[in-house]
């Protein structure tokens, strides 16, 4: 059996701890090493994904100890798909970060930043494939601490405060998850997802209260960490005050990993039969709809461009949970597609905003007048991201919104098609004014070209190409998402 799954996690973990030492003696080797290790991870995950597509999912038992005694990783399409997104998006972000970080944090802290970044990646990789409750808890705590740390690394009081707020609420979330897993362990006696899934129907008959309370605790705990609407209060501060690469990874990937765990828990552990006992689908749908509308409403009122993008993330998380909660094949496909598409376009938007701040120092939306003449490339790429966010056909946002709408019809709840339509218009209300200000304002500037370092330009163009490519030729991604939704529905 292949040992690739554990190799991806352990090599990143080891390299993360080598980086600060390397930074002290060979500072120039740090960036090539981290970019190399992530590229290697992408190759390994792609290989595994091909293997799983050909041979089906398998369990990797650590050290040869099979569960319930040992720990097993679930190597399936969902987890590998998520790892692929995590690693490729962070590769783009790191190429950007190389030049951007010098402006925001001290040079001596850079290797430490990369250590935290790589630990965050490792934790998320572990979360994607973890197949038992306790590994989920441990990796969740690692990702919480590192996610807070890459906000607090910028020596600014706003960042420290945002990070502390995030830390306290996240700890609350993991506390609730831990309580939830204790309740499940109490009635099943297992921590491994496979064994819990087997014994839950029986336990549901004997101790229904335990299962229902644990489900509520897990949904609320994951909801806090994924910033689902009424529980999103930490997100705008945290994502807007952090350095731009941190904002991009936090908004693009970190909040989604908890949605993925919730998908895994709801579909493969609890299963649709148990979900039918409680109106969890309706609760999640209501919260998602609220998130979509309120996130957009708050975003309209923002004056700071990164704060606006952060509130937009709250709305987009709503789409993902809408897809999860519809419980129809196309709905799940749409939710999973939106995880990938939003990761790409929100990273693009945050990095473009970071590039604007890098070159001009402007953060206020009203000061962006005529910026399109100073930074035509960056604003053009920002425009690509904005159009994708609104869901114009030809960009990747349209593909996932279309699948969500089909999913709503399949679930016979056409009201959500209207929700998606109205919210797309609301997205346009806050994204287009920026583009209009940038390109159609009073022209009092000479036409110039962006003065950005090469790394930032390459990274921005890479994200823009991915956005358009996945909008025009989404076939491969859709097939993968459909395979995942089949896998999830076949398990429950």
């Amino acid at each position: 059996m292949t040992h690739l799954p554990i190799l991806i996690i352990t090599t990143s973990l080891l390299v993360a701890f080598v980086l600060p030492l390397l930074g002290r003696h060979f500072p120039r080797a740090v960036e090539p090493l981290i970019i190399g290790i992530i590229s290697a991870n992408i190759v390994q995950v792609s290989g595994l994904l091909l293997y799983v597509n050909a041979n089906g999912t398998f369990r990797y038992a650590l050290g040869g100890w099979s569960p319930p005694w040992g720990i097993a990783l679930s190597i399936d399409a969902l987890g590998l798909f998520m790892i692929l997104i995590i690693q490729s998006v962070s590769l783009g972000i790191l190429i950007f970060a190389r030049d951007d970080l010098i402006h925001e944090i001290e040079n001596s802290l850079k290797p430490w930043y990369y250590t935290l970044f790589l630990l965050l990646l490792t934790a998320m990789t572990g979360l994607s494939v973890a197949n038992d409750f306790f590994n989920v808890f441990v990796f969740m705590e690692i990702s919480t601490i590192t996610a807070c740390a890459i906000i607090a690394i910028k020596p600014h009081p706003d960042c420290i405060e945002a990070s502390l707020k995030y830390l306290i609420l996240s700890t609350l979330g993991s506390g609730l998850v831990l309580f939830g897993l204790a309740l499940v362990y109490m009635v099943t006696g297992y921590l491994s997802f496979d064994f819990i899934a087997e014994s839950l129907p029986n336990a549901m008959n004997l101790y229904p209260l335990n299962i229902i309370v644990s489900l509520a605790l897990l949904v609320v705990g994951m909801g806090i960490k994924a910033a689902l609407f009424p529980l999103h209060v930490w997100l705008p501060d945290a994502h807007s005050s952090a350095v731009s690469p941190s904002s991009a990874i936090l908004s693009g990937v970190v909040v989604k990993i908890y949605a993925v765990i919730l998908i895994r828990l709801l579909y493969t552990v609890y299963g649709l039969d148990i979900l039918a006992h409680i109106p969890i689908s309706q609760i999640l749908l209501t919260m998602a709809t609220l998130a979509i509308f309120m996130g957009s409403l708050f975003a309209m009122g923002q004056t700071d461009i990164k704060r606006m993008l952060a509130y937009s993330s709250v709305a987009q998380i709503g789409y993902i949970f809408l897809g999860i909660a519809l419980l129809s094949p196309s709905g799940i496909t749409g939710g999973i597609l939106h995880i990938a598409n939003h990761a790409i376009m929100k990273s693009l938007l945050f990095l473009a905003a970071g590039a604007i701040i890098y070159q001009t120092g402007i953060r206020k939306i009203k000061d962006l007048v005529g910026i399109g003449y100073q930074m035509p490339l960056t604003m053009g790429i920002f425009g690509v991201g904005a159009l994708a966010m609104v869901g114009i056909p030809g960009f990747n946002g349209f593909v996932s919104k279309f699948h969500l709408a089909v999913g709503a019809l399949e679930a016979q709840q056409p009201v959500f098609v209207i929700v998606i339509l109205i919210s797309s218009l609301m997205n346009a209300v806050y994204y287009f004014p920026i583009l209009i200000r940038a390109f159609f304002g009073p022209v009092n500037h000479q036409m110039k070209f962006d003065q950005l370092p090469l790394g930032m330009v390459i990274s921005l163009i890479g994200f823009a190409v991915a956005t358009i490519y996945l909008g025009l030729l989404p076939g491969g991604l859709i097939n993968l998402a459909e395979a995942i939704s089949q896998f999830l529905l076949s398990r429950s």
Binding site: F137, C148, A149, I160, I168, G175, L178, A182, L191
Partner: protein, 123 residues
Amino acid sequence: MTFLEVVFDNYFYLGSITIFLIGFHTLLTHSNLIKKVIGMNIMETAIFLFIVSIGYIRDRHPPIVVEGEPHMMINPLPSALVLTGIVVGVSLTAFALSLIVKLYKYYGTVDIDEIMEIRSRES
């Protein structure tokens, strides 16, 4: 079984849930950041108590094998989990406290309401 009997048989569960709620309340309502961290710790400890009491079986011994003395053991797995949980909790506490020290250096207070007031005055 009467209600009171249920309560007395499961007093450890009820106790840990009560402590959990005390911690939860402290975490959410106090404006002093140090008290918030204390609340966080109380909450975590309550969950650890809960997990340990799941594994406890009345009149059985800790799972330490001594030759010649056959014992009925309690379930050791929850205790092992709690050990990991405590380590995680300590690191979270340390990190939160270090952030509070930094905030204190900037603002000269650990009260979140006062920090908000200072910030609104500054902007």
